[in-house]
Symmetry: C2
Subunit: 367 residues, 2 copies
């Protein structure tokens, strides 16, 4: 299956340098060797998250870290403002509801981005809100919400800004400390170029202060214990050693390139994909496009399923269909992490154009 190109919005391609770390013999986690790895990893995570704050690592999918951020930073009954315009914003909202928070849900049509004005208005109406839940890259629609502008509002309010950056981090610019984002959640299998299985939460001082007042029960995703262990380059529970070793290499790769260059590469490749797709006469779904992936609206009479099948069977290129109500209607063409190169975009565009033509849409003619 190795000659397939994964242009899916996670898991995405894992670079050879990272893959090579996965098959080295196991080491024990309560050793100086592993502590030294963790020390480097924790330091490099801060650089990649653009923060001087601690970044907690868990063995789980990104959803686990989202849940952890709710569990540890909020109290039962706390008012939170949830912004959603897609499946992943809804997930954060749903987790908050499961834990009995007083969720004020701001739901926009799929494909739209929230405006800072709307969040400002919501913060005025709910001055007692303890948090705003937002998504950096809404992977279901390829929208990026204006995190920087929202942070400019929340940083002067009583509400934490908690950002699901699972698929956006390392693709869309995100400057946690500079912008004043309080909580950044991430997963391993997107911009961080790793296999799935690790999740991350960076929390600033304002967020750390909320841990003590939280009354929601937790054990595995306990931030206080994890923070305490982190100071000794340790973890409360057995870490996913091999994935953490891969993380060390992936972070090194990102920092060798430099985060500004990484973001610029994503912007450049994303612009190119959007421009070529537009030149085919096709509509982009996202009102405010993320650089992590492009959501392409299928023309009348073309089902995304068929286009995806041709790309896979004929070109060995894997892209994703829409989720939920968007299934069959859009193709999600990811250019994330290690799959964000001109060569990968070329192969993706060639496959996409051919698949559209085979589905009866003369894309090439409209260029």
């Amino acid at each position: 299956m190795g000659d397939f190109l994964l242009l899916t919005p996670g898991p995405t391609e894992v670079p050879k340098r990272v893959l090579d770390t996965q098959s080295v013999p196991m080491i024990h986690h309560r050793t100086k060797d592993y502590q030294a790895i963790l020390e480097r990893v924790n330091r490099d995570l801060q650089r990649v998250f653009c923060t001087a704050q601690p970044v907690l690592t868990f063995a789980s999918s990104g959803t686990g870290a989202m849940e952890g951020s709710i569990l540890n930073l909020l109290r039962r009954g706390d008012k939170v403002l949830s912004v959603s315009a897609g499946k992943w914003g809804e997930r954060y909202r749903d987790i908050a509801r499961v834990y009995g928070l007083d969720v004020k849900s701001y739901e926009l049509p799929y494909g739209q981005a929230v405006t800072p004005e709307a969040v400002g208005q919501a913060l005025k109406e709910h001055a007692d809100a303890k948090a705003v839940l937002l998504t950096l890259c809404e992977t279901s629609t390829a929208v990026t919400h204006p995190v920087k502008d929202v942070a400019a509002l929340t940083r002067n309010s009583g509400a934490l800004l908690m950002v699901d950056a699972i698929s956006g981090l390392g693709c869309d610019e995100l400057r946690m400390d500079d912008w004043g984002v309080d909580v950044v959640v991430c997963g391993s299998q997107k911009g961080l170029m790793l296999p799935p299985g690790l999740s991350f939460v960076a929390i600033n001082e304002r967020a750390v202060k909320m841990i003590e007042r939280s009354d929601l029960p937790k054990y595995y995703f306990n931030f206080a214990d994890t923070l305490k262990a982190l100071k000794k380059n340790d973890t409360p529970f057995t870490p996913a050693v091999s994935l953490v070793r891969g993380l060390e290499e992936a972070l090194k790769m990102l920092l060798e390139e430099g985060m500004e260059q990484v973001w610029a590469r994503h912007e450049r490749v994303a612009r190119r994909v959007r421009s070529e797709v537009s030149a085919m006469g096709l509509k982009l779904f996202a009102q405010r496009a993320s650089n992590a992936l492009t959501a392409i609206v299928m023309p009348d009479g073309v089902a995304s399923k068929d286009v995806i099948k041709t790309m896979r069977d004929t070109h060995k290129v894997i892209m994703a269909d829409g989720q939920g109500e968007l299934q069959g209607k859009i193709v999600r063409f990811a250019h994330m992490g290690a799959a964000c190169t001109d060569a990968a975009a070329d192969r993706g565009l060639t496959a996409f154009r051919d698949a559209l033509e085979k589905a009866g849409y003369a894309a090439a003619a409209r260029r």
Copy 2:
């Protein structure tokens, strides 16, 4: 670091066949290829767990699955009987307490095993108990509790038998269905011969029935959702794809050998280690010894730390110190999973004997 031999009670050695699966290119989890892998994995997990019941897989450490079993099978205020005689029994108890269960704690001195009679008495005193929490292999003391005999009592009671088999499964005999164990929790980095990062919970029909009445909030570790997805060879959240592919290979290895042969190998190697250590004039810590590891009491004047250091520095053999109150007092010599071979035991015994001698204890002379 690859020429070290890990005789630690997890993570333990990962076989070459499994390591090789870790560096193959990433595949996407919402594909027929991955579904086919998951179908084989789910079937083989049942064989290894000796059950016809579903075995749920999570991306987390074993503790996550322990927490999941409490969260999904019990209600706030439910009475549970916790049996503990070491750190891991205490962990199960502590998780139950965090979630507001009415925990009746039966605590034995470290090194002892519970008697079925004591559990029978506790079940009589608390006929309304909803669960008994027990540990197959108490890794902190190298004791195995009499799971089979306790199951003979719980299967005719109103209480589920929930067994933490994280380090015991694949080492100590455990026949879930035949014995009538209701819940079996496991982790990947012990008898299953994988890197850490996956956890498992097998639940029988009696346990599945408890899911509906549970009122504890959960999201990531949601058994109902996981069971529903499992029926379609899917998972609610992105699985740890690479570790699951390693799992496929590790399960295949276990089943090629056969579970009875795997247990017999552990019993044979464990007996040999215990016998050689006893012949050195040393005391074994466990009253009822697990076949997963041997806990060796240090003679007067010998600190386990020094023995462990010599083994590591001179022989490249890694063993573990005692935990908590046992730190400095015992050496834990694991013979788990892929490290359970005569060759590994030989190397471990040679290293151990030499380290003891260097610490001033003439082990060889007493053979």
